[in-house]
């Protein structure tokens, strides 16, 4: 079950609007990092931000399973005043683009380990840029734990099961932010799903409100 951001009592319309701009700016920084890594152009779309019932994750699972046959997922927790987790979703095409652009040859040796390291490196750069971009603008301290690959080139259903099976069980409303970077020359998406812990929402609302009033 999802709600528009201000549809319920999570944020006012102005607070939701401001959060959209905060995420937009963080996304812009991450997009620039991705563009630099690929020496290409990244099309940015308006991020989707919505209040979700933390106990209902079926919708996110169904969407990912529908969008991809096989995926790799990098997962990273963030903690502190701004806490939650972030998943970076790589479809097969996005990995192939990564290999082509970087001239990476993983056919010899321990290819899987090299590939996983590559996903970790890029995923970590995107995740940390987005999370730190949001936390710095809202002046909410945060730290990132080590990233990990929860699924590598696995059937989407299994990968999603692993991701959501490992996540903490929350209750109440939380905030989900979906960001899609589209690498223009290769026509492939890189998708980030950020979920903010329900415990942080009152602090986030306070910071947003302060800026709206200011």
């Amino acid at each position: 079950m999802t709600d528009s951001l201000s549809g319920e009592s999570l944020f006012t319309e102005d607070e939701g609007d401001l959060l959209g701009e905060v995420v937009n700016i963080a996304m812009g920084r991450a997009g620039a990092a991705l563009a630099e890594a690929f020496s290409g152009f990244v099309n940015l779309r308006v991020p989707e931000i919505r209040a979700v019932n933390a106990s209902i994750i079926g919708e996110a699972r169904a969407r990912l399973e529908h969008a991809y046959d096989r995926i790799s997922i990098m997962h990273q927790e963030f903690f502190g005043e701004l806490a939650g987790h972030i998943a970076v979703i790589f479809g097969p095409a996005s990995y192939a683009a990564l290999r082509n652009v970087l001239g990476f040859d993983d056919r010899d040796g321990d290819g899987r380990r090299q590939r996983e390291e590559l996903l970790l490196e890029l995923g970590n750069a995107l995740a940390s840029t987005c999370v730190s971009g949001i936390s710095s603008q809202l002046e909410m301290r945060t730290g990132l734990r080590a990233p990990r690959v929860v699924a590598f080139d696995a059937p989407a259903r299994d990968a999603v099961q692993r991701l959501f099976g490992d996540l903490p069980v929350w209750s109440g409303k939380t905030l989900q932010i979906d960001i899609v970077f589209h690498l223009e020359e290769h026509d492939v998406p890189f998708e980030l799903v950020i979920t903010v812990s329900p415990e942080c929402l009152s602090s986030m609302k306070r910071e947003l409100s302060r800026r709206v009033m200011g």
């Binding site: 701009e21 996304m27 920084r29 308006v46 709206v212």
Partner: protein, 125 residues
């Protein structure tokens, strides 16, 4: 001499901030308009003589890029300053090649806007 300024952004807060900043510099003699999306902006550009537009890029449906492309086709001569969170160097190059007169990164800083308006000759210290 600037008589009408249009501020385009899908964020209400950004429109409010950008309108306040440009009003602070250009004063109350100028007519200020705002639009919440690219389609609305294009309608206003065709119905009203607009001298200067502050344009966001990442907007739903009709983006800032779409607006610039349409303006070129329609031969609209409004000066455009793009104000965007899309900070890729290629984004700046792309909007300039589409006819924008300037590019400013979000969050917009008053002194940067001031410098841009001076550079474009629409504000004098």
């Amino acid at each position: 001499m600037i008589s009408t300024v249009l501020v385009v952004d899908d964020s209400k807060m950004s429109r409010k901030v950008n309108l306040a900043l440009v009003r602070e510099l250009l004063g109350n003699e100028v007519n200020y308009l705002d639009a919440s999306g690219g389609a609305e902006a294009l309608e206003m550009l065709q119905s009203t003589a607009i001298d200067l537009m502050l344009l966001d890029l990442t907007m739903p449906n009709v983006s800032g890029y779409d607006v610039l492309v349409a303006m070129r086709k329609l031969n609209l001569a409004t000066q455009v300053i793009v104000i965007s969170a899309d900070i890729q160097p290629a984004a700046k190059e792309r909007v300039m090649s589409l006819g924008a007169a300037g590019f400013i990164e979000k969050n917009i800083k008053p002194e940067v806007l001031r410098g841009m308006l001076v550079k474009l000759g629409v504000f004098h210290d």
